[in-house]
Symmetry: C2
Subunit: 243 residues, 2 copies
């Protein structure tokens, strides 16, 4: 069944009028007709069955039926990632959605060339990936900030997994015996962190410094590997089967 | 230092004449001049320093200097992956190189739409990724075969990590206490395996059935997560720091 993220409140009998893009997707791309069923979620009310009750070429209307799944929230995990080339950043956002991250915080570092990200487009990618991966919420894409500024106002109750290209402990060893709760993963730019950044990061009391293996990884690979290992060590892959 | 994969034997003083593409890359893209140094590897003789001794617009010539690293071989790990859309397959090959896989075997499954892969192009992607990631060999891209045929002639001394979307044991639990040696990871197509394929795979005595978490993953995500977890459990991420 097609899954669609909406902003509306979801309850039995509620009328839903998807926007133009979503309508076009349902009617023109997926060829849904009146009477077809989709699954809706909004990040708050769980997942609901809904039926297409009206459709023309540009818009469709749905009516919410019964609830399929109750709302559940994934781990409180933030992916902090240096701005990298657009294609790789988009891959990272898609994978963050699939791998159960709660939010993505792009950061500018000393060696980051880019200083902008199309947050709206990244958010749309996150929505689509969330729809496909079956989760009940969508990771939030935050506007880019400078790494130094982010660290200045960091809440020390959120631990930081710092993936350090210059070396660190094997990930699972470093994360074993550590507590869950709020966490973040930090992935640097392709050129690596500047020495003064690495020094600051290594000195943070809330940071766990880890190594991602013996080879040099692209930023997208590093992000996906790190998110996977965090989920296995502290997140919802601990004992899970695929839904 | 720029790394370049070559097919020539490498020893001190040997002359190397890179092909047209490699020459163009060195001279036109990377702007190397006579006297510039690069690192060469061929998968057999380790990594060697070499100097540009001659260059015109179309070709350059190098002379091998001293050896920088002795040859080492990574784990004997095959990634068996269903043919997926070209872009995602190319991502998978790039990541297989970064994550230390020895070879990639594309397979045709019941629910695979594609029946061809551009092996030559995939091999070029593997070479480039191997150059960038710092490994001393290049993963071999094998021509696509049918999954059933591959299993018919499988050497049972090679264990198979079967990533089953319909459920399995948590990966690290399943791989703990298992022996290293020759292994393969099997990643299915986006539509999943057909029930008769799943049944056959689950019944193989050399297969370890694992789950990749509670969400539905794209084939490229599943492949990257699986390779990462295998490396952490049985491969060269066990105690490694980044080079």
């Amino acid at each position: 069944m097609i899954r669609l993220f909406v902003s509306d409140d979801l309850k039995a009998g509620a009328p839903i009028a998807p926007g133009m893009d979503a309508s076009r997707y349902l009617i023109a791309v997926m060829r849904l007709a009146i009477g077809s069923e989709v699954a809706l979620f909004n990040g708050r009310d769980g997942e609901w069955r809904a039926t297409v009750v009206d459709a023309d070429k540009r818009r469709c209307r749905l009516t919410v039926g019964s609830r399929i799944r109750v709302q559940e929230t994934g781990p409180d995990l933030t992916l902090v990632v240096a701005l990298v080339k657009r294609g790789r950043l988009e891959t990272i956002v898609e994978k963050a959605a699939e791998l159960g991250v709660a939010r993505v915080q792009p950061v500018l570092t000393r060696r980051t060339n880019a200083d902008k990200a199309n947050v709206e487009r990244l958010q749309a990618i996150a929505v689509e990936a969330a729809e496909q991966t079956g989760r009940l919420d969508v990771p939030e894409i935050l506007p880019p900030v400078k790494l130094d500024k982010l660290l200045d106002s960091w809440d020390a109750s959120r631990r930081l997994m710092f993936c350090d290209e210059t070396g660190g402990a094997p990930v699972l060893e470093a994360l074993s015996g550590v507590e869950g709760g709020p966490w973040a993963i930090l992935i640097g730019p392709e050129g690596g962190f500047a020495p003064e950044e690495t020094e600051r990061l290594r000195g943070l009391e809330y940071a766990t410094v880890v190594s991602l293996g013996p080879r040099i990884l692209r930023a997208d690979t590093a992000a996906i590997s790190a998110m996977t290992l965090w989920q296995v060590a502290l997140g919802d892959w601990l004992s899970a089967s695929t839904t």
